[in-house]
Amino acid sequence: MCGVVEGLYFHIGETERKCFIEEIPDETMVTGNYKLQLHDPRTGGFMPSSPGLGMHVEIKDPDEKVLLSRVYSSEGRFTFTSHTPGEHVICLYSNSTKWFAGSQLRVHFDLQVGEHAIDYASMAQKEKLTELQLRVRQLLDQVEQITKEQNYQRYREERFRQTSESTNQRVLLWSVGQVGILLAMGFWQMRHLKTFFEAKKLRIFVTFTALVQSSPDRVRVD
């Protein structure tokens, strides 16, 4: 859990936004470590540190409600704990005030979820745990996370099943509705045209439409 900020990195423009999706159960802690570096046009590389820059971190929960929306300095970490299970979106963008694309930024980023987010070294120090106790604690945390994920899996499966059943229902409804609409359309057309042709005194068509509507008393032979 240390020194991993120099690991994964990616490039974004100054005005660009990069978002990550994390599907997590509730009461799960997520920690993000990041470091922002500005492109140095003189050397063609990236400046080792850029104190003037800030990183805007915005985290939305599955109901599109904003959980966290803060500007941090160019290097730092953020933590949040989910309260509803589902897809959380973590967006990063620099707090640059430019209107169009500025220079490139290199963002070192590390996102850890659940039991990976816990800093065991500091926990051991703070709670004065022996090595054995620490290992047991790690196992307990792992098992707890597994249980949470399993519960969440059940909730997701239920949603999935609901969606499938709704689709099934809609397909059936639509097939029946389609037949109904076609029949209704046909009847309306015939009736409308029959009155129209009667008005126009076009015998042949009156006969035809009368036959179709099976009202033989209207058939006239001239």
Binding site: L8, R156, W188
Partner: protein, 239 residues
């Protein structure tokens, strides 16, 4: 007796310091989910040392209205492509890195014009020297306190095995979660498609019916505007 107590205490705290040091070992595991918009590519860079093993596995879990596939490539620091996948919906690549440098891992969605793809990926970097929290130098302290230490050693071994199994379980859970997310997204997209196509069908049917009636009326109705068009088309028939 006193010596036993002190050496026991030494055993308790000595590995503790090793723990602080070795938890900064290099077994890195990352899992992320990103969206790759249509016509773009998303690249991530990893600094890898020589001798380390890079393991990348990915899955396309949402393809919007399109197919669940994407291009993938792994390029070295000089730009040469190490691994490439074209139009695959999932992939798993394990390469041992010989050259040290910044490796580029990219997912390319440029072949798609409209669909945004959501890719779930996991990157694992294993170093040769397994400097993990769990493999720290506890062996060095076994020399003292034989019987007590043997028992502790058994417990630690059992816990190590449990840890291994639990890590595997977590890994499998994440995999299954990705598969389930993919299937759920497909089901939701199907639902949306059924709804929108049903509405389009209703509209088309009703409009067609109305147009049919209007056209037929215009054939015989002198007052209608279209009647003149029919007349132009077949001048001898009507008058």
């Amino acid at each position: 007796m006193a010596s036993q107590r002190t050496s026991f205490l030494v055993l308790q705290y000595f590995p503790f310091f090793l723990l602080i040091h070795s938890s900064c070992g290099r077994d890195i595991e990352r899992e992320m989910t990103v969206e790759v918009k249509a016509g773009t590519e998303e690249c991530f860079y990893e600094t890898i040392k020589g001798g380390e093993t890079l393991d990348v596995e990915y899955q396309v879990i949402d393809g919007g209205r399109g197919e669940l596939d994407i291009d993938f490539y792994l390029a070295g620091s000089t730009g040469e492509v190490v691994v490439q996948d074209l139009r695959r919906s999932e992939g798993n690549h394990r390469t041992t890195i010989t050259e040290e440098g910044d490796y580029r891992i990219c997912w390319d969605n440029s072949f798609s014009h409209f669909s945004t793809k959501t890719v779930f990926f996991g990157i694992t970097i294993e170093s040769d020297d397994d400097d993990d929290l769990w493999d720290d130098g506890l062996e060095e302290t076994i020399t003292a306190e034989e019987i007590y230490e043997m028992k502790i050693e058994d417990i630690k071994e059992a816990m190590g095995r449990i840890r291994g199994h639990l890590t595997k379980s977590r890994f499998m859970q994440d995999q299954l979660r990705a598969y389930e997310a993919r299937d759920r997204n497909v089901a939701e997209n199907n639902n949306a498609k059924v709804t929108s196509w049903s509405l389009i069908n209703i509209t088309v049917m009703v409009v067609t019916g109305l147009i049919q009636v209007i056209l037929l009326r215009s054939l015989f109705d002198d007052k209608s505007r279209l009647h003149s068009l029919w007349k132009k088309g077949a001048p001898s028939t009507f008058s």
